[in-house]
Amino acid sequence: MTSSPHTRPSLLVRIRDAADREAWRQFVDLYAPLVYRFARRRGLQDADAADLAQDVLHAVARSSERLEYDPRKGSFRGWLFTVARNKLHTFLRRRERQRRRTEDVAVDRLPDEPAAPESQEEALWEQEYQQRLFDWAAEQVRGHFQDRTWQAFWQTAVEGRSPREVAEALGLSVGAVYIAKSRVLARLKEQVQIMQLE
């Protein structure tokens, strides 16, 4: 986690102001899918994963006033990971108890994916965070560009197709594809940095 810029507490200072609606919306948009994804990967059903995401973010919201996370021990999302993992364990334990009570084990039990070792799990979380952040930034940015510009960027930068090929497909010159790609890249990078460094 050392290679990526640490989440600076300033966004977290912002969300401690419960009236800063914009900060809270960004916060939810960014982190809820991350927790959801994490829960799904650990074998939770869709609705359960959504509930867990809610639960975790509520916990964060409640403790945001005290800001229990400690930047000395890592970034905010590292702390979020810990909260999510704990909540998940609680959930799994409760479910396990219920199953034992109802003795209805065989009917709908799906085999949980075996949990990855802790360090791998955290690395996966970090990777998904970066993905989520990129996805979120792309959502924010995409509306600012014409579809052709966006496609020029996406097909070259993401899909890895050659600019010439893409230029032909989109009816652009190669130079125009480079310009389009660079403009979107600049904007995306800026957006990611805003979220990370704001």
Partner: protein, 1143 residues
Amino acid sequence: MIRQADCPDALRLQDLLDGMLPDAEQAELTGHLDQCARCQQQLETLALGGQPWAGIARLARWRSQPEPSLGRAIAELKQALTGPPEDAIAATRSHAAAPTDDEAGEPILDFLSRSEQPGHLGRFGPYEILEVIGHGGMGIVLKGLDPVLNRLVAIKVLAPQLAASGAARKRFAREARAAAAVSHEHVVTIHAVDVAQGLPYLVMEYVPGVSLQQRLDRDGPLELEEILRIALQTASGLAAAHAQGVVHRDVKPANILLADGIERVKLTDFGLARAADDATVTQSGYLPGTPAYMAPEQASGEGVDHRADLFSLGSVIYAMCTARPPFCASTLMGLLRRVSEDRPCPIQEINPRIPDWLVEIMNRLHAKEPARRFQSAAEVATVFADCLAHVQTAIGPRPSAIGFWPSALGPRRGIKPKADRRWPKAVCAAVLFCLLGLGISEAAGWTGMVEWAATVLRIRTPDGTLVVEVSDPDVQVTVDGQDVTISGKGIAEVKLRAGQHKLQATKDGKPVLTKLVDIRRDGREVVKVTLEPTGAAAAPGGSGVGSGPVLPGGGDTAPGTGPLTLKGHAGRVTSVAFTPDGTILASAAADGSVRLWQADSGKVRALLRAMRGPVAGIAFFSDGKTLLTVGEDGTLQLWDVLTGKQLAALKLSASFKVSALQPGSKVLATGGDGVVKLWDIESGKELSMLRGRAVEWKALAFSPDGKRLATGGTGTARIWDTATGKEVLLLPADKTVRSLAFSPDGRLLTTASDGVVLWDVETGKQLRIMQSPDVVSLATSPDGKLMATGSAGGRVAVLDTATGRVVRSFQEKTGPVSCLVFSPDGRRLAWGAADGSVRLWRLDGTPSARGELERLRDEVEASRAAALATEKRAADAERAARQQAERERHALALAEEAGQQARRRAYLTDLAFAQQAWANNQRIQARRFLEASPENLRGWEWHYLMRLSKEQPVSTSLAGHTAAVRVVAISPDAKRIASAGEDTTLRLWDVSTGKELARLAAHKETVHGVAFSPDGRSLASADIDGTLILWDTPTGKIKARLKLDEAGPASVTFSPDAKQMAVSGKGQVRIVTATDLREVMRLVGLKGTPHGVAFSPDGRLIAAASGEARTVHVWVPCRAEPRRHGSRLGGQQWQGDRRPERT
């Protein structure tokens, strides 16, 4: 082939990236990019800010999985955390089926199960849910139907989003328990507490109606009687809660429900209430309550008790009087500061109709110190009950012509005579209530006259009120065969249930009235028992307040006949006054005696041995029970009219001839040789002296609103502003003005000197002059239509005010008529004469000339309008002049700006020279250029200098301290440096010369903190013993000093607005005022011994370093609207935050 030389430079590529290039140029560059791989690469590098972005393809793999429930989860989260989106709020507001309160959006109702009843929202537990009443901080309030008992209930369900949280459940349970423990008619009843579908909920009594907040929003300020009623009921509801140890903590108009139809208040939402001994929860920093209404101790996060609710009740009363909360500010911080420090805008500036006494009660509730408030809600309820009784029964004063305005006095409460400098406490309360009566009469106006018989029985029930008026104290009243005790005259109250009751009045064992009365819900029945003195007849009334009163008549002076003569006084009669109900006439004389007479029969009621010397004046308070007598030697006495006993006495340190009591206050005006003085009759203190030239004042009169005082004396009459003590009008008179009288509306003043003159009080214009040369006393009738004059020859004339025509007159050889007064109903005239006789004359049938009077008023109005027009022209001219001046100022400012620019240019020139000199290695010369420049060295110039020299800045050592130097500060103008440390001295140094300017030795211990105020004029220092000293920088004098309770390294800093300072002591930071070091707030929760403290530049953040605890403590004001987010997210003013110390 692309040549490298054709490649654009980085700046042009950046412009291309930013879309800053003209189309043609962009096209050209695009063409170049088609070919040039180097530029393609460089463009991408530029876009990424020089750092490659590897693995984008990997990053973009997020969107690959279905997430059906995630959208819902996110939407719910956003709503829970940030409230509904703005457009949803708008939609909700126009949604008639689900009324919600202002802050609420569309609540999520998916926890309801389907109802079989069409039109119902659903079912919850056993209840049919009909609609959403509202939703707020903790949950949703639903209107439900209890199918078992078939009654409507309000169901408060903990928000589903919160039901998972243990803390929220606990608080909810606590709320339910606290509220359920209180059972009172003015507290919403809790029927049940339960859990359904995993959600805790409580079932409450359903109260149809609106909240006080909605009512205020809709109707604005309330009427006095309603204010008192709501205040009384709220206070009694609070008293019940407090008796259970429950403090509401959030008393505000939104939590006071006004039930439809019945006049009953219900206090609800003990959402933040908790048992009073559970105050520790608050200590942790959570800030419950609504800041606009909360008590200062709540605002500052200190522990609160039931008296915090009393402060909030004061705030609610303020809101009822003005339709706005007492404290407003744009930020929560500002609001909290205002709650703690400010007084709200005076009520009467917003609503002048609110009487002084209510303002006084509000102020007492609003005392910043809990100990100075009323001490219990029960006490407050009693006060308001008394007030309400008065408003509903008492009548106000009417102006009498000379000397005194009678006013109302409140209920007596076992007042014992006591010759103290101050009135006994009970009398102070009585005076308060005397003001009460005045306020009411002002509100009612002068026209809505109400006559009450001597005894008023109020038979009050929760369902209705029965009012019985009895004119004869010997009449015995029974209700349903039970005696209702009437002890003398006064107000009695009887409790009755709704239904039919038999009321019987008997006198000497014989029934004089039997009546069946219906007590209805919310009804009011008035039964009037009026006995003729013959004792034979009875006349049931059956009408309400304000109906035409029947004056008890009988062996009275018949209309058209001469007056009754009342004898007894041995000296000149100096003052006569009627009780407000007109039943008793009082007269006072130069022999020191005061006599009370039956106004109808002229029989003597009592003889008060008042004074040794002459009595200067008398006045009744408005319930007619208490009489004030004023002696020429300065003695003031209060008398019980009923028993004739003296209640209290006080001596003013003055002697005088005439006096007048200001309506609506405790102020007495006295006049004699040369001066008029105003006194506070409660304390006996002189308030002010109205300076006139050496005039012997013969007459004083207050205007009915008390704002003006008219004085008459040798050759002049003057009108003064009582508030400022300034003379506002001088009315010329040829001879001595012997008597004065204001019209009941206060617009006209009549003076008697050589003739009787009617003046316009505003303009000083003479409206009418009536030639009657020897008039010595004057009176205006309560309706203003008639005027009475008494002459030196003993003649009394009644004139039509409008025409000046004499309509009645009477003459007898009594010597000068010294005083005159109309009865409050205007049907009698009483006067006293120099021979000691008092006359009582019935005036019924006296014609009046209404049309003529109105014509006169029109005349006055027309002249006013003309005056206004003139004023407007003057104002226009003034505005033009102001605009001209503004233009000139603007021109001046421009010139100044130009001058500054010139100076700046000169300075830059100097800098250029300096740069040149540096380049030539002529440092001294460069320095001279810089020092010669108009400004002193500031930060950027230093920087510039350093860049020029490419060297370390020159350093100078300031030597002088004898032990370790710990702290240093530079004054904002950069001219001085302050330093301090272990040698306990504080030293001031001159920056440019390095000279020690001052050595300030007042600390006894190591100085650990030092700070200049933002204007540099003050310097603060703090030592480790906890002593804080504020110095005057220029003189080195100590301006203020504060010793903290705790020792420890103390640090200090000024707030950016220079108004406050933060001082850290052991375990806490205090905010103190920067002028007198008065403590404003304490920020607690600091661990360890703090070393440094700092404000953010906007003053909103405070940080303190905790030393050994290795933490930095930050207090952040949260802008959250606490009612919405507070309970959920802990929207609080200050929050503790631990972060690592940066090393």
